[in-house]
């Protein structure tokens, strides 16, 4: 059974040979992954993924293969993304804050969306290497809400949801069209899955009222998913950090197959499995806020075993850290996660 078959089996809610595994290498803060690679003697990310037993591959954003920790960014440095959103590096030299929201200064009708061609620069090359052996996904995170709030400003956009529906509708319709074109291009290249996502969850509840999500985002997500599935045989993944419990039934209804990252600090994976495990695959589930970052290897082991024993039965579970790892995460916790998952995630599970 190759990695792709392993993932497909789990997605069909059957038990493969072991629980599939994924990574969350974050190009801005890859530190712990680079340390893990050095420790294991891996020369590239691909080499690292193979050694860790990663079954999924991602294409999009800054797909890169060079094992390198980015040089520390100077606090106060200002840079701009392809959408014209400007960021300032914070005093710690690690994180950024948004300091310029284009749609506070430019009218929507005058605002041009950027080309997404760059994302596809090396996509064909990666797909050629991975296709058939690994489960390949096209990344379209920040699908609607997150781009909208970056363009407009977080508070301003939340207020728009209440006070400025015509603006919100126009912006989201343009984004929907943009994402649809992008998704079709991924599908024509031969990906197995499209990763959609918007962070609409906070630590203890949703960021926006579920009814606002249902009013503006659900119908558009449904239209996007319907069109993508019409265009090709793809699975649909949905990512949101935090607690999105109120809209999980909606996500299932509109055709989402995989829910990520199910941060255990915000939602109990066992409860999600119990309620929706026959309809959706859980992806992620290992705490990065606590266990990966602050815990010991023993803590990681305990959490992975718990997750397998409560969520792996009948397939429908892919284990990964529940977010990109903070730079201070001990790299040995990464190695522990995958070692333990491979050892205890073998089917049939031991009771």
């Amino acid at each position: 059974m190759n990695p792709r078959e392993r993932v497909l089996r789990a997605l069909e809610h059957e038990e493969p040979d072991r629980v599939p595994l994924d990574e969350t290498i974050d190009w801005a803060h890859p530190h712990p992954w680079v340390y893990a690679a050095n420790y294991l003697g891996a020369k590239t990310y691909e080499d690292l993924r193979r050694r860790l037993g990663i079954d999924l591959r991602r294409i999009g954003w800054s797909t890169q293969e060079e094992l390198k920790i980015p040089s520390e960014r100077r606090p106060g440095l200002i840079f701009e993304d392809s959408w014209g959103v400007k960021y300032e590096v914070t005093a710690d030299g690690v994180h950024t804050r948004v300091i310029y929201h284009p749609l506070q200064h430019i009218s929507l009708s005058d605002f041009e969306f950027p080309s997404f061609d760059k994302i596809f620069d090396r996509a064909a090359e990666f797909i050629r290497i991975w296709r058939g052996e690994y489960f390949v996904q096209g990344v379209m995170y920040c699908t609607l809400f997150e781009i909208a709030r970056l363009l407009r400003g977080f508070n301003r956009f939340l207020i728009d949801l209440y006070e400025n529906p015509s603006f919100v509708n126009e912006l989201l319709d343009r984004l929907l069209k943009y994402r649809l074109e992008m998704g079709k291009r991924f599908i024509e290249l031969g990906v197995d899955c499209i990763q959609l996502g918007d962070d609409v969850g906070a630590q203890t509840g949703m960021l926006i009222h579920p009814n606002l999500w249902r009013k503006y985002f659900k119908p558009r997500m449904k239209a996007l998913i319907d069109e993508l599935k019409k265009h090709g045989d793809v699975y649909i993944w949905y990512h949101s950090d935090g607690n999105v419990k109120p809209i999980i039934p909606d996500l299932i209804e509109i055709g989402v197959n995989i829910l990520n990252p199910i941060q255990p600090d915000c939602m109990d994976p066992a409860e999600i499995k119990e309620k929706y495990g026959d309809k959706i695959t859980l992806h992620g589930t290992i705490s990065v806020q606590e266990t990966m970052q602050l815990g010991s290897e023993e803590d990681v082991k305990r959490e992975v075993i718990t997750r397998i024993s409560t969520c792996a039965h009948g397939g429908g579970l892919i284990i990964a850290p529940a977010h990109g790892l903070q730079p201070s995460t001990p790299f040995k916790n990464i190695i522990a996660l995958y070692e333990v998952a491979k050892k205890y995630g073998r089917y049939p599970l031991k009771r």
């Binding site: 914070t90 005093a91 710690d92 804050r97 207020i159 949801l161 209440y162 960021l207 009222h209 970052q293």
Partner: protein
């Protein structure tokens, strides 16, 4: 009539109806109602929004929207206030260095202002020494630090350290609030309180202010 307007005002705020709130605030002023009483009503509306947020009925979107409505209403009411000297005390507020999240800070700030505190907001990504400098300059006896990121919250210990260096530790209380705040941090970082709930945080700060 008066109580009808005030009840309707509170309901309009709770229901996120900005236009109606502004309309009713203007009406109430025309009827010569005490602006402080109007603010009190809006504040009780905000309390209800907070309660609904706590119980999971409302979300960040409603905290932001009600905060915006409150701000607009206060802009109208400010010129009508005779004096603003109804202060419960001064507090220095900011999000700790390495952390840019300001929603939590804005929530507690709104709650504090509407409870009569004078808030000195240092913004986000604030270095430890700035908190201490601001407390010295303003004479605030309370420092409130917001922290969402578990990676940054450790820096709150440096605020306490800095206070100690300046010989101010027993004069200034330090409360850390936000998603990353945990009880065990009180002892480990030398804090006076750590809480991941804005309403409970407000209760603690009110109690300190009353104790003087």
């Amino acid at each position: 009539m008066t109580s009808n307007i005030l009840d309707a005002l509170k309901d309009a705020l709770i229901n996120m109806d900005a236009a109606k709130v502004i309309d009713l605030v203007n009406k109430a002023l025309t009827l010569k109602l005490d602006p402080i009483e109007i603010i009190g009503v809006l504040r009780s509306g905000m309390d209800e929004v907070g309660r609904r947020f706590e119980s999971g009925e409302y979300f960040i979107s409603e905290l932001v929207m009600s905060g915006e409505i409150m701000k607009r209403a206060l802009e109208i009411l400010k010129p009508h206030l005779k004096s603003e000297g109804r202060g419960k005390g001064k507090i220095v507020l900011g999000t700790i260095i390495g952390d840019l999240h300001d929603i939590g800070k804005e929530i507690i700030k709104t709650l504090l202002i509407s409870s009569g505190f004078e808030v000195y907001d240092l913004g986000v990504d604030v270095p430890p020494e700035k908190f201490v400098e601001a407390a010295k300059e303003t004479g605030a006896k309370i420092i409130g630090i917001s922290a969402l990121l578990s990676t940054s919250i450790v820096n709150t210990a440096k605020v306490v350290e800095k206070l100690r260096e300046e010989g101010l530790r027993d004069k200034v209380k330090v409360i850390v609030g936000g998603a990353a705040a945990r009880q065990w941090m009180i002892e480990k970082y030398g804090l006076d309180a750590a809480i991941n709930d804005a309403i409970k945080g407000l209760e603690i700060i009110r109690r300190w202010a009353e104790e003087g």
